[in-house]
Subunit: 302 residues, 2 copies
Amino acid sequence: MKLTVLGCYAATPRTITNPTSQVLEIQNRLFLIDCGEGTQVQLRKNKIKFSKINHIFISHLHGDHCYGLIGLVSTFMLLNRENDLHIYGPKGIKEIITLQLRLSNSWTAYSLFFHELTSTESEVIFEDEKVIVKTIPLKHRIYTNGFLFQEKTGERKLDINAVQEYEIETCYFQNIKNGKDIVLDNGKVIPNNLLSHDPIPPKSYAFCSDTVFDESIVPLIENVDVLYHESTFLDSEEHLSERTMHSTAKQAATIALKANVATLILGHYSTRYDTIDLFKTEAQTIFPNVLLADDGKSFNFE
Amino acid sequence: MKLTVLGCYAATPRTITNPTSQVLEIQNRLFLIDCGEGTQVQLRKNKIKFSKINHIFISHLHGDHCYGLIGLVSTFMLLNRENDLHIYGPKGIKEIITLQLRLSNSWTAYSLFFHELTSTESEVIFEDEKVIVKTIPLKHRIYTNGFLFQEKTGERKLDINAVQEYEIETCYFQNIKNGKDIVLDNGKVIPNNLLSHDPIPPKSYAFCSDTVFDESIVPLIENVDVLYHESTFLDSEEHLSERTMHSTAKQAATIALKANVATLILGHYSTRYDTIDLFKTEAQTIFPNVLLADDGKSFNFE
């Protein structure tokens, strides 16, 4: 599992900082999360193949999370994309994109599927054989969802030495990977745990931006490997975080602690601060394992 | 008169090239012409004061000319803009902007005026005491206008030595600047040309992008000081220019020649070519005074 942060600053794009967008690579799938203005250029700068992006998740319709989407959809068209593109986001996102395509008389040759979200309860919005994606309803000034990406538990790993020792035929291997015990020709039962190892524990990533401090998300993100939680402000600006429905670094760390996550990544920084190191220092007073997102930074979680 | 090119490349924004946007400074007014994705960052890079932009002209609704507009409108809001903002562009532009503001629940505190264009004849769309702006109907795949910016002829310049010599009182100075002759107390008439000099000749700038080669614009742009004419392709790709309704460098130069302009600026280059110098070389086989637009380049025309 690898996270590449394309942009992680609040509000407007600036000369050297970009609004929210990130790419999660999980089980060889690339998921684009949010798409602020300039995302397509950030994708190029970070050498991420446009053609590998088939699913885009938009948390909410504030500009710093979605104004780059129409440009990306159009660029896919100019690049002669053929793959389907799935866009998951708040109701209204389809109208925003299709209105602009219609007025520019530029329909995509590839198929564009919109999955508009309206629920205020967590729901499964994507699932295939390896990955499941659920919404994390957040509290912000407009309808907003975070997203929880979970690998499914894989097959058990065959113990090659053990299966050779018991002279088990290859036609039974899949049963062993599926966790089944094996009955030998002599009637003897070999328990599965003597023939296989536990699978690699599935990884999980929770993206929570933008949101006011809200403990009700804790049960949804409990024990995730990596939590990205917005920290627009420091504790000294807590009054602003309440008013604008954002979080402080301390509040993000409190959520991480209560949810017992392994790693917390902070982001969505206000540009009012001289250095983002202040966010880490503040968060670590509550929760130790804190990383700082920054534009163009990648995190490997293997 | 000063032109700052923020972006002048066709199609999609890339790592080092930007889609169309430029700032024309004329008679202390700043006019933003087109607004591709990333324009607000280009404004910052070129240190152009956001608060001085009160009029934005959008040629057409293809993404590389307008996808940065919603972001700029939103950023103006975040910067607590108070001045009115006037947007001139094809019908539909109001719906694109207001739909996105409505869905993000982010109304501007400043007043936003849309001047939607539908005419296929040239028309005056802006006028104040110093400047007049007219449309230049262009032929492209969708409804498109170029824009002609003209300084109005200024007042005549007082000849200080002459008015002192004739002992003319200051209360008559404005009449002299307005071109009036002066009658002295003794009845003698002093012709205006002995008391004043001709005003500085008014400057004019024509922006023509995007368009197929179209001689019908020549009468509208005749004798302008500066013509920006798109040259997406070179002559070797003339078949593409016809199909996509763009122009070649040679065609742009032909328009410049026929319209007897003083200076031609080329831009809107396809990124398929290794160097933009090829455009200049080709255009100069037809018309000598050719300049090349490039992102971040400024041109002073005093």
